[in-house]
């Protein structure tokens, strides 16, 4: 199975306090970048679908990762090549010249060129939280889609049985390939992904895998291609205009109460919530 995983880098959410706003623009200098966690789960899912669980160096298929960004976003791609992806593509753009729709349309062109059996993406990016690219891409391609996958079982690499968590249970959807699937956090639980190559009993360690040092070093030699955005879509103008940015107000200091009675009184008289 050939799988395409689009991924983006996000400012390290643990250092979100370093984000600054200057004259209505986001200042990204000095931020530490991390792969969007849900995209990392998508890469992990793609790897699990194309291996037998034990010989994780042997890929039974191909995993191609793609990102949109400036030159230094290649670090994110190299990291994914280190964990086991075969090939990477960087669509050259600035960080703030694109929106989900541009990405989806460019990805459509890329999918038509690469012809993957499956596009796996994270359910959303933790910076903008738009959660649009997967769905839009499926629409543009006219492919079936399953969103927020918590489990995936491959049925002979012809179809996927996708579990989605909903209130009070799990819905199972059967999507025929080629398809677009977006993944949720639970997809990286030990037994969430069943490939045609993996014994049913196999359990992965929780979470995404660690890249071995020699794989990190070998990743330098794996192919990484650069593509111009204009070569993928003639209409590269973002539809979303960001008018202004504002930092959340600084948190005010709290108050200590001496007992429950005072707490209740304050909730009534000051917070007016009870």
């Amino acid at each position: 199975m050939k799988i395409l995983v689009p991924l983006k880098r996000v400012a390290d959410p643990d250092n979100a306090n370093k984000v600054k706003v200057n004259a209505g623009k986001l200042v990204t200098t000095g931020l530490e970048w991390k792969p969007n966690p849900f995209d990392e789960y998508a890469v992990e899912t793609a790897l699990r679908l194309t291996e037998n669980g034990t010989a994780t160096k042997t890929r039974q298929g191909e995993v191609v990762v793609v990102t949109f960004g400036p030159k230094d976003s290649e670090t994110t791609l190299r990291a994914m090549l280190g964990t086991g992806a075969d090939r990477a593509i960087r669509v050259d753009t600035g960080d703030d010249q694109i929106d989900g729709d541009v990405v989806a349309r460019a990805l459509k062109a890329l999918v038509e060129k690469e012809k993957p059996d499956l596009v796996l993406c994270g359910k959303q990016a933790v910076d903008g939280d738009s959660g649009q690219v997967g769905q839009q891409l499926a629409e543009y391609l006219g492919w079936p889609q399953a969103t927020f996958a918590g489990s995936i079982e491959s049925e002979g690499d012809k179809a996927l049985l996708v579990g989605r968590e909903v209130d009070g249970g799990t819905i199972k959807l059967r999507v025929e390939l080629p398809a677009v699937v977006s993944v949720d956090l639970r997809i990286v639980a030990p037994k969430s992904v069943k490939s045609v190559h993996t014994p049913a009993t196999h359990a992965y360690p929780e979470g995404v895998r660690f890249a071995a040092l020699m794989a990190i070093m070998a990743a330098k030699k794996k192919p990484l291609a650069e593509v111009k955005l204009a070569d993928l879509t003639s209409d590269a103008a973002p539809k979303i205009q960001y008018l202004d940015y504002e930092l959340p107000p600084a948190r005010k200091a709290g108050v200590k109460v001496k007992d429950v009675t005072e707490l209740v009184t304050r909730l009534k008289t000051e917070a007016k919530v009870v």
């Binding site: 190299r78 360690p205 040092l213 020699m214």
Partner: protein, 380 residues
């Protein structure tokens, strides 16, 4: 960050941080207080790709060199908050190199591979109750008897000695002085090899430290590392890399104590302002930062020289002393900034202060480092 770090080091750092944040930090205090971390941790560290860093792939290692190992271990200290755990998990860093360098293929399979997968624990036994600085005068004897050596004597202060499955041991196979020393791998369970009680220490609590004794202990000749009576040279080679590791640990501990101090100085208030509001505090931190920068620069330089294959005997001694002094100074200042809390076990800097005390002693004392420097500088 060391100047030598590349994107590869950065990725490795991320892995080490993720591992230590989730698997060490939540238990750091508990393991330190219990004076033990779970044995399974070795396997987990191995599976996260962090145990075999700097060891050849053919032996089950992760490739890379000492620069990678230093980065992984620094980040585990910074993110894991338990120096004892990291040095305990890392005891193979001094036990394996002589085997990797001088061992036969069969010895490497038997001793190196299972340690790098986390199945076996290894230790290095040089120091004796009678003395550690004067290695050439060690008294544990190994007398050849057919296919075996008969070992008599004892070792002390052995890191991971309580749980070790084997100990790379310095023994006297020949006459007096350094020309009579050999390295012998002595396995747990060998008749006559007993492990004494776990020693109570100032710091490094999460790691076990043991006294070992050998009484008519018969060790197969097949366990001799390198040629008979050439062990002293191997031990000295090993000391050079050990001292680089120790210098890097000092940098890591100092860095952590410094970071903790910044956080504390911002949060703690006195006389109506934060501690950071006092110039005295800021200048303390500035001194700490400067010393760390110097120790890090020298540790980085020696690492590069070591990787290039230069003889770093003298520079390793200098780097160890500089880093050791930095670590002692910074941890002392960190406790001072924390005031009474800095003296309390609940606070990390209290532990780091105790951990720091080992470094001018272990791996060759501060005075012995100066002896080495005096000799190589040719003071006469």
């Amino acid at each position: 960050m060391f100047l030598f770090e590349t994107d590869e080091h950065a990725e490795l750092r991320k892995n080490a941080r993720r591992f230590a944040e989730t698997r060490i930090k939540p238990h750091a205090s508990a393991w330190e207080e219990a004076e033990e971390f779970p044995r399974e941790l070795y396997g987990e560290v191995a599976r996260a790709g962090l145990l075999g860093v700097s060891y050849p792939e053919e032996l089950g290692g992760m490739g890379g060199d000492i620069s990678h190992a230093l980065v992984a271990s620094e980040e585990m200290v910074l993110a894991g908050h338990s120096v004892g755990t990291v040095v305990g998990v890392g005891s193979h860093g001094i036990a394996l190199p002589p085997i990797v360098r001088l061992g036969t293929p069969e010895q490497k399979e038997r001793f190196v591979r299972p340690v790098l997968t986390g199945e076996k624990i290894s230790a290095l036994g040089i120091t004796e109750p009678g003395g550690g600085s004067d290695v050439a005068s060690l008294r544990t004897t190994a007398v050849r008897d057919g296919d075996h050596y008969v070992v008599n004597g004892s070792k002390t202060f052995i890191t991971s000695g309580v749980r070790a499955d084997f100990v790379t041991t310095a023994v006297r196979t020949g006459g007096p002085g350094h020309g009579g020393v050999s390295l012998l791998v002595i396995e747990r369970g060998t008749k006559g090899f007993t492990v004494g009680k776990k020693l109570k220490k100032t710091g490094w609590w999460a790691t076990d430290t043991a006294e070992l004794s050998f009484e008519e202990c018969r060790v197969p000749v097949a366990n001799l590392i390198g040629e008979e009576n050439t062990g002293f040279y191997a031990i000295m080679m090993n000391f050079a890399s050990e001292r680089i590791y120790l210098a890097a640990q000092c940098v890591a501990i100092a860095e952590l104590a410094y970071r903790e101090s910044i956080t504390y100085a911002k949060e703690r208030h006195a006389f109506g302002k934060s501690l950071m509001g006092f110039q005295v505090t800021r200048h303390k931190l500035a001194d700490m930062a400067s010393r760390i920068a110097a120790a890090r620069a020298l540790t980085g330089e020696i690492t590069i020289r070591y990787v290039r294959g230069e003889d770093v005997t003298s520079l390793a001694a200098k780097a160890k002393n500089v880093a050791t002094d930095t670590c002692s100074f910074v941890c002392d200042q960190a406790v001072q900034i924390h005031g009474g809390n800095g003296y309390m076990r609940e606070y990390l800097v209290e532990r780091l202060y105790r951990d720091a005390r080992l470094y001018p002693i272990g791996g060759g004392t501060r005075e012995i480092m100066n002896e080495i420097i005096s000799k190589t500088e040719g003071y006469g």
